[in-house]
């Protein structure tokens, strides 16, 4: 785990099949400062290897707005991993 000075804490949400693959709907995680959403996903894909296969069919949001994978995270951000939407 990174030292306190170098780490940020973000809230993470999983929806749809991602929630089933991760076995959880939400999490709170410590990351290195300057980590982006891509790095956050990679960290979960290490923990839940099945997640990796969904990478190309997932979009991410940061603070309830769609966000690029390269978005740099800040402490307190709420990141969600969203499979293809099927409302309506």
């Amino acid at each position: 785990m990174p030292s306190v000075a170098q780490s940020i804490r973000v809230k993470v949400l999983f929806f749809g099949r991602l929630k089933e693959v991760a076995g959880r709907a939400d999490d709170s995680v410590d990351l290195a400062a300057n980590a982006d959403i891509e790095a956050l996903f990679a960290q979960y894909a290490t923990r839940y290897p099945q997640l990796q296969q969904y990478r190309s069919s997932v979009v991410a949001s940061c603070n309830q707005e769609f966000a690029a994978w390269s978005t740099t995270l800040r402490s307190g951000d709420e990141v969600a991993f969203l499979p293809p939407v099927s409302g309506g």
């Binding site: 690029a68 409302g87 309506g88």
Partner: protein, 157 residues
């Protein structure tokens, strides 16, 4: 980007009441409402559907639905919008999405209604799981368009 006060945007667990939504959008200066009622089909890809479960990323879904309503007001000569999506367990034939758009003239109401449902299906974080006799699947969906670069983020704390 708040929707005007006359709009009604909701996520609900209970059955949707179409008459209430139709009445909500009607104004004395209007001449037409177009109503879109989306409900649970009894089949999906040749399999018999038993029921559906909808889930949402609720605060973001509400924000995206309000954005759609705001877009309608900006781009079409409409009066008011009601847009309600139901979540949870839905039986065959039950309404999952109801959109009511009123306008002085019909063309704007048609255009706005169609834009609303098309955009909702592409961009609002709601997911449908289909239950069949021999199992369940998350419905194929659409991947929302995402900014390719990072917009300047709001500081979150």
């Amino acid at each position: 980007m708040a929707a005007p006060i006359t709009d009604l945007i909701k996520l609900v667990q209970e059955p949707i009441d179409p008459a209430m939504l139709a009445a909500h959008v009607r104004g004395p200066g209007d001449g037409a409402t177009v109503l879109f009622d989306g409900f649970v089909r009894d089949h999906s890809k040749n399999r018999r559907t038993l029921y559906l479960e909808y889930e949402a990323y609720e605060p973001m879904a509400m924000a995206k639905m309000r954005e759609i309503a705001a877009h309608l007001h900006e781009h079409f000569a409409i009066h008011a919008v009601a847009m309600v999506h139901r979540l949870g367990h839905l039986e065959i034939g039950e309404t999952s999405i109801y959109i009511a758009v009123s306008a002085p003239h019909r063309a704007a109401a048609f255009d706005a209604s169609r834009y609303a449902i098309d955009t909702l299906k592409r961009t609002v974080p709601i997911w449908k799981k289909e239950y069949f006799e021999d199992g369940s699947v998350w419905a194929d969906g659409e991947l929302p368009p995402v900014p390719s670069a990072t917009p300047a983020p709001e500081t979150a704390s």
